[in-house]
Amino acid sequence: MTDTSDMGLAEAGVPFREKSAWVAIAGMVVAYGAYFIVVSALPRAGSEIDETLRTIALFGIATVIRLLILGIGTLVIRSGSPADARVPSDERDRAIAGRSAAFAYYVLMAGMIVVGIMMPFNAHGVAITNAALFWLVAAEIVRYGTTISAYRRGWHG
């Protein structure tokens, strides 16, 4: 079994998959962090349609920024450790990915229960949409955070 973490440590100090997770977290935090700050600071639009169109436009911009950070970041870390990037995932990588997804899944489930059951009684449509997006981002951050933690702590499943 190939130990990718050891290869990564030898080549660039940190495993490629851990660096990928850092890039993914950075993309989420920067793009959607800015999105939520802007959305919460803006006053409500004149009509529901204006509010909806503005939400879609801001969400689109945030998504493009996230993809740019992800794409550029991945290119940078790939060029820094090309051999590590080409190594296929081993059992430990798959176990870490599964464990991270399990934690993130529960976060997302809990968030959706709050959003889907409690919010309809005290929030308008765009607020519900933004809350769903917030929990999606939170779950992704938990997923990548768990991945980073597992590599740093040397978790072996």
Binding site: T52, L53, A95, L108, I117, P120, T129, A132
Partner: protein, 154 residues
């Protein structure tokens, strides 16, 4: 068939039947001229309680029928299958919610057309039910993935 696999079949079957009944009724209620929020809320609460009761009863019956198997801790294979299934369920739920974050604003923007004079309270109720459908589908994907792996691996 092991205890865990039987439990998964029971869980998937009750999920399909009970949530299927609820969402079928919800769509029918949407098509009706008047939408009764109280009645639909009642059906939702009934579905949640029924799901819990049926699954608890199924777990008790299955545990009594094979007590040794029910008490056995999860082995490496069980844990591996569970982790694979979580990944599939998480990806499914994420994709469905990401789709909803785009579709929901469209639903809100076009609400005056499809509401046809009914209460605007329907808009968040429809969105929240779409979220619930996503949760149910993700759980079914999780159960189906583990069941597939058990079948494939047995």
């Amino acid at each position: 068939m092991g205890f865990r696999e039987k439990m998964l079949w029971a869980s998937a079957a009750t999920t399909v039947v009970i949530w299927g009944w609820y969402f079928w009724g919800f769509v029918s209620a949407l098509e009706a001229p008047i939408f009764n929020v109280g009645a639909e809320l009642g059906k939702f609460l009934f579905a949640v309680v029924a799901l819990v009761v049926v699954q608890v009863v199924a777990a008790i019956v299955l545990a009594l029928s094979s007590p040794a198997d029910a008490q056995a801790p999860a082995d490496d294979r069980d844990r591996e299958f569970a982790l694979v299934a979580y990944r599939a369920a998480f990806v499914t739920l994420s994709v469905l919610i990401a789709t909803l974050t785009v579709a929901a604003p469209m639903t809100i923007a076009t609400a005056p057309a499809w509401l046809a004079g009914r209460s605007p309270v329907l808009v968040p109720i429809v969105i929240s039910n779409a979220l619930l459908v996503s949760l149910v589908i993700a759980e079914l994907v999780r159960s189906a993935t583990v069941l597939f792996l058990y079948r494939k691996g047995s």
